[in-house]
Symmetry: C2
Subunit: 98 residues, 2 copies
Amino acid sequence: MDQNTEIKHMEEAAYVLKAISNGTRLCVISLLSKHDELNVSQLVEELKCEQSLLSHHLTDMRAKGILNCRRDGKNCYYSLKNKQIVQILDCIRSCNCA
Amino acid sequence: MDQNTEIKHMEEAAYVLKAISNGTRLCVISLLSKHDELNVSQLVEELKCEQSLLSHHLTDMRAKGILNCRRDGKNCYYSLKNKQIVQILDCIRSCNCA
DNA sequence: TGATCATATGAATAAATGTTCATATATTTG
DNA sequence: CAAATATATGAACATTTATTCATATGATCA
């Protein structure tokens, strides 16, 4: 793989990482790895995060392909598009970078 | 683990992720995972990145515990503090998030 | 239909990150 | 010591990301 392709790949990886490099967003990922799906109110409650702020995070993560969303009546249930993403957390732990 | 501890952990993980969520920085990590150590000129050459900009990135990654640095004469050789960090790249690939 | 609940959106602002440029520091070499 | 090379630093500015607030939308229910 040539250097230009490599750089492009790294930019793509950075795009994903940026979408999750935030305490609140990682908490969402961690919760959704344990609960399959949760609605916004449940997340607001768990995370003690303001509704509107969380909504912005969720909307953006969804737009970037991290989350799925399904509406059921008044509620919107979010889930991980790819459960494996939580491995990044395990990875950081095992790297004891953090 | 209670929710507050969890949030703290996620903030720490986010701190590490933020330090690497950038195309240039990921390229540095990728290169250093293959080369053990490289000096700044070599990295500038490989990455076609301006010296001063790269230096800022390197200094910051070092400050945040991602990189090591050792001076040998006029040169500064950078290396990964923990080689395992490159697994985050594998992880993203395998999640085909990117 | 109007009230209420759940969630999203947009605009304004704040804070963090990235980039550039000029210049400083450290090391070697003539 | 002066010049050259390698790297770092600081300030200014640009761009991105996070946060807040007010309000909109969509769904249910009386």
